[in-house]
């Protein structure tokens, strides 16, 4: 299965992945309208300290502890893509406690959100990958 992999040595810490992610999942056609004057809600996070930076999002584990810990049965695997049914989420944070990558975070709407590889929005391909200027994150089969 194609996954997002991080090439840390090429990450520039530009944070564009976060913005493209937030835009892709906003459901709004216009990026400006989607993001202007808003606290962005990205499902990918850039860790940055000094000269080191890299992006982190869901690894879509083959043994997903988030699914096993979710009290609401809201997180499931769809052909290997770990997705969350936000209508079932009760924001208990069990998945936050479970995820070894720290890849789940609350969304604005009082439910959790996570990277679903842009399979549930209109992107087709992960928006973060498309927005990365330096191939610091790639979407491929390994």
């Amino acid at each position: 299965m194609k996954r997002i992999y991080v090439n840390e040595m090429w990450c520039l810490g530009c944070h564009l992945c976060e913005y493209y992610c937030a835009y892709a999942n906003s459901g709004i056609q216009d990026m400006v309208k989607a993001l202007k004057d808003k606290q962005i809600q990205a499902r990918i996070t850039v860790e940055q300290r000094g000269t080191i930076s890299f992006a982190v999002n869901c690894r879509h584990c083959t043994e997903p502890l988030c699914i096993k810990s979710c009290i609401a049965g809201a997180i499931t695997s769809k052909d290997g893509v770990i997705v969350i049914d936000q209508s079932r989420c009760v924001l208990c944070y069990s998945c936050i406690m479970a995820c070894p990558y720290g890849a789940l975070m609350p969304a604005r709407e009082g439910v959790m959100q996570k990277c679903e590889l842009c399979t549930t929005n209109s992107q087709g391909q992960p928006a973060c990958i498309q927005g990365c200027p330096n191939k610091a994150i790639v979407f491929e089969e390994r």
């Binding site: 090439n7 040595m9 520039l12 530009c14 564009l16 202007k36």
Partner: protein, 501 residues
């Protein structure tokens, strides 16, 4: 501090309606132009620091930025133009030589744009390169004047000591030091994939790049930086650099600040010591001296590698080329005065040397007249900008071309001409690790491969249009060119007729 006479040349126009304050402009500008104003909750910029490299413009996800030329003016004066006045201010303040980078921006004639290419109509058929073979492969090196046959009458072909190019385009010399590790790697990877060559420049060959040896031309220049037997044998050819189009007659200077550990090891010079290339080779004062170096290098590589002699296009270039063709060199590379550089004195860059088109035409002509054209291949560089420039150069007599500025542009260079600052935001002309990493060679080499693949397609199309199916048949075929808006002397030097004739 005194009075600052210089007004910033650019204005940064930010469309605040579109700016989402993602701060990518701020994070990506090594010149510290942009910053976020916490009080106003919006981005602002100090345009006096801007070099107009477009890094921010290119990365802005909402296209909220553009950079425009300031409309601040001096009182109009055709003689005392703005840049003339400003240069005087600069020198009056600094007392120093004005430094500049890349090729000259001055408005000299570009003869490529004053020549037109022929096409077949009715009386001779054009060729469809998608249906019929079209050869863009070419070999560089000495060509035998006589055909020799073996006992059974078969032609003896010898291509030893030849460079085989799948496309008639090579990447010209840019040293590791003047450009970054990643830029160098991009060029090496692309040359390797394209079946052509890149050139180390005077910076030696980083140990990581020996693997690209068969697509590498190693250079020996006046500073002899990084030259050792292993280096000479690592590449496919050796280039003696006598001169460079952007700065004929002078040497080079890589400041000690750029001589980090890797570069110091590669150039074989002390850490943080200035790398100064002398203006002349101190062992070359005549063609005979040059011949000694050519053969010294051939000895060092057991006569397996062709030797290139690179010179800048200057006034009596054809006589110089004639001498080189007799020196034992296999290839002459001529660099026109519009060629680029990482740093050169502005006055020299903008005023010394001659255009490559005229130099090429006169050299080809002269070597033919003297019957020694086959002694050498001719490679020309100095602002080859497109596939049609390549076609025109070959038709004027070149065997192949060198490109560098075009290659850098493909890597992201926006020709802001501040390479000498060392703060290249595109990770090309810098040694700052944080900037160098901005150029991922995987991306860079792909862009180079794409560019030359595209050019090769266009070359094939244009050759087919002329009814020509190989580079060899186009070479020196000046009938395929016509001048436009050129006067007689120019046409005579170029050896072409005027359009309509």
């Amino acid at each position: 501090m005194g009075i600052n006479y210089l007004y910033p040349p650019f204005e940064i126009i930010r469309n605040q309606d579109r700016c989402i304050a993602c701060r990518v402009c701020e994070r990506q500008c090594a010149n510290l132009v942009h910053h976020y104003d916490e009080d106003k909750k919006r981005m602002t910029a100090d345009e006096s620091l801007c070099v107009n490299c477009h890094r921010c413009v290119s990365l802005c996800p909402t296209r909220a930025l553009k950079i425009v030329k300031t409309d601040h003016t001096f009182k109009e004066n055709a003689n005392w133009k703005t840049e003339v006045i400003e240069d005087i201010y600069r020198q009056a303040q600094s007392g120093g030589v004005l430094l500049a980078s890349m090729g000259t921006p001055k408005e000299y004639p570009v003869y490529w744009d004053k020549m037109l290419i022929n096409a077949s109509q009715v009386t001779n058929p054009s060729i469809d390169p998608l249906r019929e073979p079209m050869e863009t492969r070419t070999y560089l090196g000495k060509k035998s004047a006589k055909i020799t046959r073996d006992g059974e009458g078969r032609i003896i072909t010898s291509t030893t000591g030849q460079l085989k190019l799948d496309i008639p385009i090579m990447f010209s010399a840019m040293s590791y030091g003047s450009i970054s590790y990643n830029a160098h790697k991009s060029l090496a990877m692309a040359a390797s994939e394209l079946g052509t060559f890149y050139n180390t420049g005077e910076g030696g060959l980083h140990k990581d790049f020996y693997q690209y040896g068969k697509n590498t031309i190693v250079q020996v220049a006046s500073g002899r930086f990084g030259v050792h037997p292993e280096y000479l044998n690592a590449g496919a050819a050796i280039e003696i650099k006598m001169g460079q189009g952007a700065k004929p007659g002078i040497g080079g200077h890589l400041p000690g600040s750029k001589i980090g550990e890797d570069i110091s090891a590669t150039r074989m010079i002390p850490l943080h010591a200035d790398a100064i290339s002398p203006a002349p080779h101190h062992d070359i004062y005549s063609i005979e001296d040059l011949r000694q170096l050519v053969y010294a290098l051939k000895e060092a590589t057991r006569y397996t590698k062709p030797v290139i002699v690179k010179v800048a296009a200057v006034h009596n270039i054809s006589a110089i080329a004639s001498g080189i063709a007799r020196s034992g060199a296999d290839i002459i590379a001529i660099d026109g005065f519009r060629g680029g550089t990482g740093a050169a004195p502005a006055r020299i860059r903008d005023n010394v040397g001659i255009p490559i088109e005229l130099a090429l035409a006169s050299v080809d002509q002269r070597l033919r007249q003297e019957g020694i054209r086959g002694n050498v291949s001719l490679v020309v560089g100095g602002s080859i900008r497109s596939s049609s420039d390549v076609i025109k150069a070959i038709a004027l007599g070149a065997d192949a071309v060198y490109i560098a500025t075009s290659a850098l542009v493909a890597l992201g260079c926006h020709l802001c001409r501040t390479c000498h600052s060392g703060k290249c935001n595109w990770g090309i002309a810098t040694q700052n690790p944080e900037l160098v990493k901005r150029l991922n060679p995987e991306v860079g080499s792909q862009h180079l491969v794409n560019l030359l693949t595209a050019w090769n397609h266009e070359i094939k199309e244009m050759m087919g249009g002329m009814g020509i199916n190989s580079i060899e048949a186009l070479k020196g075929n000046r009938l395929m060119l016509r001048g436009i808006a050129l006067h007689e002397t120019e046409l005579k030097i170029l050896g072409i007729a005027h359009a309509g004739q």
